[in-house]
């Protein structure tokens, strides 16, 4: 027997549930975004978005000029190591915020105020939207393939993964690519029984290619899965059973035609010198620089990287309850993950059979591939967990199976004793299972890249293990109040890992006064920031030498673990010692 109660038909009600999930998440993301200063990579994409946005503005003003090679090269050369779709969305929301919406308001006789509360949220909106839509899609995929509660649980479990929640705020590609890969996978899965979904698969794949290079790996999973499914289908047909799967891979045809076309169309940079520019893009990622990443006390800066990295980091950063549910969920579906003959031989007493589309196999393949890629010794690991976020929706869907077992088990035990109604029990059980995610995510906010969960012993436990403390320098946002207090009349700050663009965004957002400026020379700055990462220790030592003291004036901590130290220039110290007249 099965725990799942697969709905016969998904309708408007289900999409309303999905949309509500997405909307609530979007509101929460918007409400909490200003707590997070921009990260390094975001600041680069802001520059890119502004450049691309200017091109789009030119398209409306002087399209002939805009489509000239000179114009395209001028506006699209920046950050040409990444395709354009996500940055284009950031550009559009920026244009909407700065031009479209103010003009619209003006036309209505109102003051021409921007749409978003802060400039940073205008750039970030596209990322937040992608994160929110992902929940909708997880719910629909889970509900359609298995059970509504499974879909709901999976969506909420994904939403409350602490690091996912952080990245979902950003104008970056790591969360949008999750949406795209999930969309491709879902559309492909539907195309196995419906030809028209092949077109959607092609469109989704084009968007995925245009979002981030993870997309290049997706066909590998789909091809293996399709071979599996087709093999089973052929065997069934030979046995005289009715047709269940479309054996012609229309989806593949769509992916190899629509996909590259959309990729090309969305990225003006490759409209000229297409082959060399595409090859440069490919080379950038095939020979990517290695950056520093601490793992169990070792600062890894070149291959070979540890094979255990993605698994341990997943264990250490995903709420432990959810990790166990993921593992148990996969174990529960083990029989459906095998070819039928093998399942009969290895688990003869079992009744669970794979569905015709081998959904479990598809989900497991989609979950494992990103993890396997980042377990390869030559794959750079500098991005922490974000690079295999594409695995998480599928792992959360498996977690949903185990969660359903818990929920139904609780329900049946209580109901059979007449102790409770099914509804409240079901909701309460799900809430309890999701509580660690909610609690950890709430606690991690502002410090998500420093956050570690129960399996690591929390933040201090991870520090004991010598795990990476943070990256991208966004925690500067958490010392803004200190800097303002120390420099009421302005001054300068050495930013360490924070980029100039990210620092300037704090000013554009109104969080930092304009008279506090970034200083590129450590010895000349009034205050020196040190973002604590293993390999940043040298900046501490530089400050000791430059200022003749090992004493910071401020240490920002998270759960007692140092995140940012701030050193004060002796001249500033002397100034603060002069009694005010």
């Amino acid at each position: 027997m099965s725990v799942v109660t697969t709905p016969v038909h998904l309708g408007l009600r289900d999409h309303l549930v999905g949309a509500t999930l997405a909307l609530v998440y979007l509101i929460i993301l918007l409400a909490t975004a200003s707590d997070l200063a921009m990260s390094r990579d975001e600041s680069f994409y802001v520059t890119a978005a502004e450049s691309y946005g200017q091109w789009y503005a030119e398209v409306f003003e002087d399209s002939e000029k805009a489509f000239s090679r000179e114009s395209i090269d001028r506006y699209w050369a920046y950050n040409n190591e990444h395709p354009a779709l996500a940055k284009t969305v950031f550009a559009w929301t920026w244009l909407l915020d700065q031009r479209g919406w103010p003009s619209f308001r003006e036309a209505l006789g109102m003051d021409p105020a921007p749409l978003f509360p802060t400039p940073s949220s205008a750039y970030r909106f596209g990322g937040m939207l992608a994160g929110s839509l992902t929940l909708w899609l997880i719910y629909i995929f889970g509900a359609r393939a298995a059970d509504r509660r499974l879909g709901l649980f999976a969506a909420l479990a994904y939403a409350t993964l602490p690091r996912v929640f952080y990245h979902a705020h950003l104008d970056a590609f790591d969360v949008p690519i999750v949406l795209m890969v999930l969309w491709v996978t879902y559309a492909y899965w539907r195309s196995l029984v419906s030809k028209r979904w092949a077109i959607v698969t092609g469109i989704a794949y084009g968007c995925a290619l245009a979002t981030k290079h993870n997309a290049w790996l997706v066909p590998g999973v789909l091809l293996v899965h399709f071979a599996w499914v087709a093999g089973q289908e052929v065997a069934r047909r030979k046995r005289g059973e009715r047709e269940r799967i479309v054996l012609v891979p229309y989806w593949l045809l769509a992916m190899v035609t629509i996909g590259p076309l959309l990729f090309y169309a969305s990225w003006p940079w490759i409209w000229h010198d297409t082959v060399p520019r595409f090859l440069a893009y490919a080379r950038f990622h095939l020979h990517h620089d290695y950056y520093n990443m601490a793992y169990f006390g070792v600062n890894y800066f070149r291959p070979p990287f540890p094979l255990s990295y993605p698994y341990v980091m997943t264990l250490f950063t995903v709420p432990f309850t959810i990790v166990l549910l993921m593992v148990f969920g996969i174990a529960l579906r083990l029989r459906a993950l095998m070819p039928e003959l093998l399942a009969k031989r290895l688990m003869p007493r079992g009744e669970l059979r794979a569905d015709a589309r081998a959904t479990d196999v598809l989900w497991l393949g989609s979950a494992l591939l990103p993890l396997l890629v980042f377990a390869m010794p030559n794959t750079p690991i500098f991005g922490g967990t974000k690079h295999w976020f594409t695995a998480y929706p599928f792992l959360c869907l498996f977690a949903g199976y185990a969660a359903l077992h818990v929920i139904v088990s609780t329900e049946s035990r209580l109901i059979s004793r007449g102790l409770a109604e099914a509804g409240p029990v079901s909701i309460l059980s799900m809430a309890v299972l999701l509580a660690p995610g909610f609690a950890e995510t709430a606690h991690s906010h502002r410090f998500a890249l420093s956050h570690y969960t129960l399996a690591a012993g929390g933040v201090p436990g991870a520090a004991d293990y010598g795990m990476n403390r943070q990256f991208w320098g966004f925690t500067t946002g958490s010392v803004v109040e200190f800097l303002k207090q120390k420099m009421p009349n302005g001054g300068s700050v050495f930013l360490n890992d924070t980029t100039w663009g990210a620092f300037e965004m704090l000013k554009r957002d109104g969080l930092l006064p304009p008279n506090i400026r970034a200083e590129g020379r450590l010895t000349e700055a009034d205050y020196v920031l040190v973002h604590h990462e293993h390999h940043m220790a040298e900046v501490d030592f530089q400050a000791w030498q430059a200022f003749g003291s090992v004493q910071p004036v401020h240490v920002l901590t998270y759960d007692g673990v140092p995140i940012v130290s701030i050193y004060e220039h002796p001249r500033r110290r002397r100034m603060s010692q002069v009694p005010a007249r």
């Binding site: 015709a356 077992h405 088990s409 329900e411 099914a422 020379r521 000791w544 030498q545 130290s565």
Partner: protein, 359 residues
């Protein structure tokens, strides 16, 4: 796998061509998502997940509650500050709490304490520890003093009188520094420079001290003086910067210094220059009154390596009755056949013997 019920499950969604599964053998209950039978696998073991989830939330609260407060740190620091003597070292455990130690006690700490190679120059060690951690360089015995301040424990280890006679890093300004050019030792003059302007940051290099022996004004890195490097294990090391110029040595001579019975040296390179483990070795020769008493080759990957010279053995004074010279001219020569990015930096001392603990 009976616990999981896997081998008893029915088919999933579209295994039979239609959505849902069929259950015929047991009574059906109505649940929030529709009908579901009273499952055979419905085991109380599944409820463990609910317990785990609750425990995980509680554990988060406990972790937050256990974080030492500012009052704890300040109380511990105030006590140590009130007891601190001139030859005391201070450390913290675990090591990641070092910025907090320096926040609260940094006014009483110097680069000599934070960048020490060992505890030889110190007579007591104060350890502030949290989470029950032990300092790796503390003696493996009970402390001479221990008191807790909230969640911060303060321990003091009495190490005994220091055997250090001359700290060669402290004494660098009393040394003579030369560089050999075409067989002639050319003096490097000790000068006081204006404060250096340093770009800083990752790979931003070290800060040159204002007072240093500049050996070549065209090669700005060719100087000798006190500094602090990030060693291969990413820890701070206070040392004498002696970047080799090539096969011809840079020499640092300490004239007529107390010698004792042994010389302890540490040598290594800046993290960025050593971590790739691909560049050539650096040779450190040690001469006493122009006689070689030790020669060490530092290879990438050695980190801040310890070199020890037993003067009794090296000077043939191991026999009973033989005497060691009390004083002498100690010279260190640094050379490398391939000097590119050989940011060699060393520390050391002459010592009158071996202390039982923290030698």
């Amino acid at each position: 796998m009976s616990l999981l019920g896997i081998d008893r499950e029915g088919s999933s969604s579209d295994s039979s061509g239609s959505a849902g599964s069929t259950f015929t053998s047991r009574p059906v209950q109505t649940t929030i998502s529709g009908r579901a039978p009273a499952p055979r696998w419905a085991s109380p073991w599944w409820l463990l997940f609910l317990g785990l989830a609750i425990a995980e939330v509680v554990a988060l609260g406990v972790r937050e509650h256990r974080v030492p407060t500012e009052t704890d740190w300040a109380g511990a620091a105030d006590y140590v500050r009130s007891q601190l003597a001139a030859q005391d070292a201070i450390t913290v455990a675990p090591g990641w709490a070092d910025p907090l130690l320096r926040l609260y006690l940094g006014d009483r700490m110097t680069a000599k304490i934070s960048g020490r190679s060992d505890l030889a120059a110190f007579e007591r060690l104060w350890v502030l520890s949290i989470r029950g951690a032990n300092a790796p360089d503390a003696p493996k015995r009970a402390p001479n003093f221990s008191q807790t301040f909230g969640r911060v424990r303060v321990e003091r280890f009495d190490l005994g009188p220091s055997k250090v006679l001359v700290d060669l890093v402290d004494a660098i300004h009393d040394a003579r520094v030369t560089r050999r050019i075409e067989g002639i030792d050319d003096p490097c003059i000790l000068r006081t420079f204006p404060p250096s302007v340093l770009q800083g940051g990752l790979g931003g290099g070290i800060v040159a001290p204002r007072q240093r022996f500049q050996c070549d004004f065209e090669r700005h890195w060719l100087w000798v003086g006190q500094t602090l490097i990030e060693s291969l294990d990413l820890s701070p090391r206070r040392c004498v910067w002696s970047h080799p110029q090539g096969a011809d040595p840079i020499s640092i001579t300490y004239p007529d210094i107390p010698l004792g019975t042994r010389i302890v040296l540490y040598g290594g390179l800046d993290y960025h220059d050593e971590r790739d483990r691909e560049k050539g070795p650096v040779t450190l020769r040690v001469l006493l009154n122009e006689r070689e008493i030790g020669s060490f080759v530092h290879r990438d990957g050695d980190g801040m390596a310890r070199y020890e010279i037993d003067l009794r053995r090296e000077l043939g004074a191991a026999q009973p009755g033989a005497t060691l010279p009390q004083r002498g001219d100690l010279k260190l020569e640094v050379s490398a056949a391939e000097p590119y990015r050989r940011s060699f930096c060393w520390a050391g001392s002459t010592q009158s013997g071996v202390r039982k603990e923290a030698p």
